[in-house]
Amino acid sequence: MTSLPTPQPGAKKLGLVIDLDTCVGCHACAVNCKEWNASGVSAPLTDSNAYHADPHGVWFNRVHTYEAGEGQSSRTVHFPRSCLHCETPACVTVCPTGASYKRAEDGIVLVNADACIGCQLCAWACPYGAREFDADDGVMKKCTLCVDRIYNENLPESERVPACVSTCPASARHFGDFNDPASAVSRLVLERGGYDLMPEMGYQPTNKYLPPRKPAAPQAAVPQAETGATSSLLRWLDRALSR
């Protein structure tokens, strides 16, 4: 059924918070996502020509890098992009077969690969580029929020988080329930001003992004050394004593 589920009392709203202040752009989340999902519920994630010219493959997670602002006040921001598990996802409602669905119990948006006809309309309907077509299987694939990890009782409890979250070396990715106001993700959004991507599209993304913090105030200019000081030791002494 591709009509959206009616909200249930007590249902979870699972998703990610991505901290653009701490993301270092290492792509580890994208690589670990690929590793886990290439052998998990969405397996295989097709790679064609992987070791030749024009390699091509399905990835659920992509890390962009942007520059914003001009001159000394400009910032370089690393920006992971993946499915936002929207509250009103058109990728689900446009699906003609019922293969795309949003789970009532936790809000995760999934594709039933056995019912997908590969029409790719869902990829057109997603403003965020969250869905990629697997040409080998002829079906659409997308981030599952690691539904095969987060409820997996064969894993130690500490590992029951999405692969991208578990691997992030900068702790820039957080997983949790946005319907629980006391959860870490809800608190982060509140404290750090978490925001939606393209809110004007009206898809109401669940995942939130935390903006880069304001840079520290610029330090006072370091006094210049006297021109006569030729050795580095003398220059250092001159600077240190001038403070």
Binding site: W59, A68, A90, P96, G98, C116, G118, A123, V139, P211
Partner: protein, 310 residues
């Protein structure tokens, strides 16, 4: 958006077929069509071939065409599903209309009316598949559905006029007049559509896509991957926009100007009605180019993440 040949052919051919079926259904009762069995069956057969060839072509776009039947299930939410349901349903009154021609050379009544209504509903559903997609501003606007409907009415009328020319020149002149008027309306709406997409911009920008606009101008510094991925191949198609002005002129000329000139010449008695098939083929060829442009000129918000315009 990448213009998939299967979909370009589908919307053009099926559009013309449904347009023919609409005029057949509407005019069969009014006495405007030749009352001949061979004419009725030939006309409805050509409409059915155009419709069916288009529908079959559309399944070539699917990754798993053997599951296409599943697409009939989600008509509550999906325009693509509604189109599938409407397309299948249209066959029923169309077959009944063909059968009633065997009994009465001037068939009327419920099958004719139902065939006309369902044909137009199917074309509307096709248009709404595109018009309902918010991330694609060249599709998500009020000009798309009217053009799809007028294009179907025009190409259907000109095809039917071409066949009618072999049965009854007077009836062909009536259809040629209908084709002329609907062609003028379609061309006008297409021009307004082009003006609309040229003078408006999308609601989304790289600033709203990344949420980093408060830091200043946002520029893509480094893409996530070195090669074109599925998203850029499917939704980052750029070739047509470079030549948009020329291609639009060719589309206008071949789809509208040339066939409409032939229609005027036929109506003025300057050329015989047997020239009408040339006008019909010309219109269909031009419509293919117009439909190719409809895809090729469309941009998707996902390219904003890659620092491109949408």
């Amino acid at each position: 958006m990448k213009p998939a040949g299967s979909i370009v052919f589908f919307t053009t051919a099926s559009g013309a077929g449904y347009g023919m079926l609409f005029w057949l259904g509407l005019l069969s009762a009014s006495g405007a069509l030749p009352a001949a069995l061979w004419y009725g069956l030939t006309a409805i057969a050509i409409a059915a071939v155009l419709i069916t060839a288009g529908l079959l072509s559309s399944t070539a776009h699917l990754g798993n065409p053997q599951r296409a039947w599943r697409a009939l299930s989600q008509w509550r939410s999906s325009w693509l599903s509604r189109e599938g349901v409407a397309a299948v349903l249209t066959y029923i009154p169309a077959a009944a209309l063909a059968a009633s021609w065997l009994i009465d050379p001037r068939p009327a009544g419920l099958p004719a009316l139902l065939a006309a209504v369902l044909a137009i509903i199917t074309v509307y559903c096709t248009a709404m598949i595109y018009a309902s997609l918010k991330p694609i501003r060249q599709w998500n606007n009020a000009w798309v559905a009217p053009f799809y409907l007028l294009a179907a009415l025009f190409s259907g009328a000109i095809c039917l006029a071409a066949i009618t020319g072999f049965a009854n020149p007077a009836a062909a002149a009536t259809l040629a007049t209908i084709a002329l008027l609907s062609g003028l309306a379609a061309a006008a709406v297409k021009l307004l559509y082009w003006r609309h997409i040229d003078t408006t911009t999308g609601a989304s920008t790289v600033a709203s896509a990344t949420g980093l606009g408060h830091l200043g101008t946002v520029r893509s510094f480094e893409a996530p991957h070195s090669e074109e991925n599925y998203l850029l191949k499917e939704m980052g198609f750029r070739i047509a926009r470079k030549h948009a002005a020329k291609l639009r002129a060719y589309a206008l000329l071949i789809a509208f100007a040339a066939p409409l000139a032939i229609l005027v010449a036929v109506l003025a008695g300057a050329v015989p009605v047997t020239v009408l098939p040339v006008a019909a083929l010309c219109a269909l060829a031009g419509m293919l180019l117009e439909r190719w442009l409809f895809f090729a000129e469309a941009t998707h918000t996902v390219v904003l993440f890659y620092g491109r315009q949408a």
